[in-house]
Symmetry: C2
Subunit: 717 residues, 2 copies
């Protein structure tokens, strides 16, 4: 019944069929296949698994086990009952499971437990619990430093440390939270120095930014929730970086000069905490500088080096000091076309390029200081894969750790000796292995997930392969899901699922090649589901991504058309019944494909689409599009409102009324443009949701989308 | 090809067929049949026709003709060229046509011309023009008094008279404009005394009313337009009545006492301008008082009489003094079940009921003071008709003026001698006749409109008839439009067009029995289009209307189901393909019918629906529903959000994003309720429109609606 095919560079891999007889299989439901569904089949996992020195800790509901990676021997460290008895004795609360405990201290028999309003330490040797640090229960964005026992947190728009309020800013000035709309790799607003004696934090003044009104219709009388949302070309927020000293209670702001139209990204501390490194970027995002500021005076100490590109540079990773040499650090750059590691010294001198090749470094997991190795994840095996390697800093030698296939997410033990390697491959839903970094060998399997789709009717095949991009030179990866009971003599309707934007990749080497639950559902209902990672998507390097510069969506659409041309070449594809669906950038792509290629695409469902980049925010939008003032032709050519008159097929636009990423103005302005142009899109709105429909309502969303394709593509009149 | 059938109380009237051969007829388009369409077939009319004493004035683009009603003799009074030459000489401007001139002075050879910023008088005897009164061009809600030459107007929220600002109120207090959301017959905010020496005006304080946010997505960044919208059961606005004396520039406010939760309606002046009459109403709307206030002191002089009803009273007409006796006035009341005329004296004593019967007075056109007659329009011939009568005040004798059939809108000459009678009947698109009130005879025809649908394929028949209401006693009128090329051996899909709320009637004795352009369009495409005026609708009297009290929509739906049962009894109706469409109250009915009778109605399109009466405004909503606090069961039973789980058919909800009558919260809360209940309505929003889609976009709206019925009712899978 189930047959997984993997075309890898035209290589066909036939996978094992299940042993269940066809008649025993059930049709999958959206409740089975969509996150939020009542019977959702998520892939099993081990939760809370982590390192305690070189011992692997496996928490359960009731017990905490330590595993020796070399011998596999399991030792019961403690039980929930013992912990809860100690917590009760100290009147500190109660745990309902042990998945969230931490074992950060290799040299102590202690757990760190986060209970509401406090961090607690439990010692399993002495069977005692004590509160280590407290904070108000409404404190969010918490950042706890293990070394100093200081905790930073925010309440409303202000920053607090321990029991003190650090900032007293008015509404519109936000401290201690992520800035620049989480672009440039930023995802938090507080940065403890290594020993936790100083706290760097962001301060963002948004008072000059226009606000966008989102209406909450669940109030007695509809109410406005305003978000400060700087749109492309308009006045943006201003960011500063402060340093707070909990001991002196003094706050110092870096003297960065006028913050207008500047980005302050990738904060990292010098190992001695005497200076702070930032990667500063101009609004045009084509000129980055690595700057060092004094943590004592706030003054600029040095601009170590600069990086420019005619299109854009996008620093995403803070510099990382070698643990064994505080004068040297790793800098990540795409300057040779792919993200690689560069070794610099603190004078700003490039010592050497540590990695090189037509593949990219995706992550630095940590170091083995004894062997002077960096442990990374990279695409060296394939752009679809993420494999683990160690890189020797002295000689640059790379060694594979673990499997050559699959996508690996791993935790390195503190000394860099072992990895907890959590991975999947097209045929493995999830394995967790313990891997030794010394020789790259898998020591043992810790966990193997069951097939989440066992007992359900699955696609006839999931094929992955390559086709040529519209530039006739670049390879593009596609994935084709063939419906259950596939009969090559029939003609099938096809749904192209699309995203197409930067920083995303639909086809990869995870289970079923990264297929989505809805793809499986539609395949069970007789659709072919196709996806293609066009130019502009991730893991293929700089030129592949920035081919779309200043004309977002146009080259991407051309590549998707190549996918459709391939589909149309297949005898079992009904060329008159090709539909397209995507969300966000994929919503833009869906709408753009429907409007630019009305002969190819008959039905589309666009969720949370960008319609006019002028309505999108400054940081992301201007990186790829520059400003409406400096790139009027590009904004014009990509403004789908101007193409509203081209609509011929059935296009359903779906937007969330609280979408604070891609504001409802996109979809509503397109509706107006279509009314003006006398074309006839369809519309749906999910009240109360943000940029996508999450939770239980996700099943509703995909039922809605399914019905639309059923009505107009499958049963087309 | 075209055959109009009229079942009038089961009487069948066959009408003449057109002489055009079928092959010469064209399929109508929405552009032909919808207002706003590029080729819209509106019925011809004579514009600007009016009285100048007993001469009938017929303006044209270039000339102004006077017609002697007795002889029919036409006299050219003046030309546009002559007027424009005089206007140019006086540097007053220019007219592009003469349709908007007025001839208010029977004793003068003068026209009143309203040009931007000024009222101008042109004398065709002396061929001179002079400005009579000026006002700022941004002055709106203008109220010009002919006798005194005073002009009242508003700028923003304040009132002005001539060149002076009368009120200086802050935002949130509105003067000189209509109040109480245009309920109780109120449609303006200024009331000149008969000779124009005093101005009564409304002042409405809305500062305590919650505001509803409507988002304008056409701004660079979406902007909020807030409307003050008091929702049922919530704090309402407070109204006062002022009197301004332009000569002394003094303003006096009536001493009405605490205005909280009171309505001040139907303002009229005593003939001597020394007092002002108001009909005051409590918030519960079940207790009205006719009050007389001194225009000199503002104090209450008398409460002439009171009127109550256990359900509601709804005063809609100011008292009207007899021109020949300033101590007597006409008061209109539904106290005997139908709106009739009552003669009172100024002490509040009822002198006599002037009209009586199971029919109602719809309008008072004026008086003939010589014969002491009142000229009215009434439903005495039929609830579907509006005919003209004179009523003798002394003996109560009524005499029909003009035809017995049709719906008549007429202008009475100042002395009450003649009528310009503009009417249509099921077979006459529009006639304009001159009628003599002395004997009720038609003197001559002034104008006959062409058939607006000439050359277009029209329905096979338009039948009007009666069925029993769900109470098994009341008659209800229906209209059934049979599709072109009707073949009684086939099965047709049916669309029920519904309104169903108070103050409206779908079936009447106008051309094609009041059919809508879209009904004709759908009939041309093979649909039967049906309409039924259920209990609650207008022109049938008090009990017929208030049968729906405190449970709006429930009895109305039951009556509509009777209509569907009738349809299902017809051999040529496809009982599995019955759809429903309506707007506003009709949107509520559409949604309610789809939810309460999911077996009967398969497809619905609800425009601007009321979903929960708690989201509707105080004045209209509480009249029929009381408050959510005092009628929780009624609000619960009529809240369609509670029935969202019943949806089985296809229901498209359409709302305007600037709907300030029925705010978007209705539809959006229903969408949320359906998502919660896992049911699947469809949605469309018209950006920038208010409560309905007007202008050019109306064609888009009805194309959208048509496609929905075509997709799911006509070509149902």
């Amino acid at each position: 019944m189930k047959r997984i095919q993997c075309y890898l560079s035209a290589l066909f891999i036939a996978l094992a069929a299940t042993n269940l007889a066809a008649q025993d299989l059930q049709m999958p439901t959206l409740e089975d296949l969509m996150p939020g569904g009542a019977t959702y089949r998520s892939t099993d996992n081990l939760y809370g698994v982590q390192w305690w020195g070189d011992a692997c800790i496996k928490p359960g509901i009731d017990s905490l086990i330590a595993i020796n990676p070399q011998t596999g021997k399991e030792t019961l460290l403690t039980t929930r009952k013992a912990i809860n008895d100690a917590l009760a004795k100290a009147q500190l609360g109660k745990l309902s499971q042990l998945y969230n405990i931490q074992t950060p201290w290799a040299d102590r028999t202690q757990l760190l437990i986060n209970l509401p309003g406090k961090y607690v330490v439990y010692d399993w040797a002495t069977d005692t619990a004590l509160a280590r640090q407290e904070y108000p229960r409404d404190g969010v964005n918490r950042d706890y430093n293990l070394a100093s026992n200081n905790v930073a947190y925010t309440i409303a728009n202000n920053l607090y440390v321990n029991d003190r309020q650090v900032t007293r800013e008015p509404e519109g000035v936000v401290c201690g939270q992520s800035v620049h709309r989480n672009e440039f790799g930023i995802n938090k607003g507080t940065f403890w120095s290594p020993k936790g004696e100083l706290l760097a934090f962001y301060r963002m003044d948004e008072r000059m930014v226009t606000s966008y009104p989102l209406v909450d219709i669940t109030a007695r009388v509809g109410e406005v929730n305003r978000i400060r949302y700087p749109m492309a070309g308009m006045t943006s927020h201003q960011v500063a970086v402060g340093i707070y000293n909990p001991q002196t209670q003094a706050t110092l702001y870096l003297n960065t000069g006028d913050p207008t139209d500047r980005y302050f990204t990738n904060i990292s501390w010098a190992p001695d905490a005497r200076s702070l490194y930032l990667i500063e970027l101009n609004r045009d995002q084509n000129h980055a500088k690595l700057c060092q500021y004094s943590a004592e005076t706030g003054e600029l100490l040095a601009t170590l080096f600069e990086e420019t590109h005619p299109k854009y540079v996008e620093p995403l990773n803070p510099i990382l000091f070698l643990p064994w040499d505080s004068r040297r650090f790793i800098y990540q750059s795409r300057r040779d076309g792919f993200n690689h590691l560069y070794l610099y010294d603190t004078t700003g001198k490039l010592l050497k390029q540590l990695t090189q090749g037509d593949w990219l470094v995706q992550d630095i997991l940590g170091f083995n200081r004894t062997r002077e190795e960096i442990i990374i994840a990279s695409t060296e095996q394939s752009p679809l894969r993420s494999n683990l390697y160690k890189v020797n800093v002295r000689n640059g030698k790379r060694t594979l750790l673990g499997l050559t296939t699959g996508v690996h997410r791993a935790q390195l033990s503190p000394a860099g000796t072992y990895l907890i390697d959590n991975y999947s491959t097209p045929t493995i839903p999830r394995n967790i292995d313990l891997v030794e970094t010394r020789n790259g060998k898998t020591l043992r399997n810790l966990f193997t997930a069951r097939d989440p789709y066992a007992g359900l009717i699955m696609p006839a095949s999931i094929a992955v392969g390559k086709i040529n991009a519209a530039d006739d030179t670049t390879d593009l990866w596609y994935r084709m899901v063939e419906p259950a009971g596939f009969d090559p003599t029939r003609k099938y309707p096809v749904i192209v699922y699309v995203y197409g934007g930067p920083h995303a990749q639909l086809i990869n080497d995870t289970y079923y090649s990264g297929v989505r639950g809805w793809d499986l559902y539609m395949a069970s209902r007789g659709y072919i589901v196709f996806a293609l990672d066009n130019r502009g998507s991730s893991n293929r390097g700089r030129e592949f991504e920035n081919a779309t510069f200043r004309r977002l969506g146009i080259e991407e659409c051309k590549d998707q058309v190549r996918g459709v041309e391939y589909l149309k070449s297949l005898p079992y594809v009904d060329a008159d019944r090709i539909g397209v669906h995507g969300w966000s950038f994929g919503g833009h792509m869906t709408t753009a494909l429907m409007l630019r290629y009305p002969d190819l695409f008959k039905v589309g469902v666009a969720g949370g689409p960008v319609i006019d980049w002028a309505y999108y925010e400054v940081m992301y939008g201007e990186r790829y599009m520059d400003t409406p003032q400096s790139n009027p032709d590009g904004y014009d050519a990509t403004n789908l409102n101007k193409l509203a008159g081209n609509l011929r097929g059935h296009l359903l636009l779906i937007h969330d009324d609280h979408d604070d990423t891609c504001v409802p103005q996109h979809t509503l302005s397109f509706i107006k443009a279509c009314v003006d142009a006398r074309t006839y899109p369809d519309l749906f709105i999910y009240p109360g949701h943000k940029h996508n429909v999450a939770g239980r309502d996700r099943v509703h969303l995909y039922e809605k989308i399914t019905r639309y394709f059923d009505d107009y593509l499958k049963h087309k009149p």
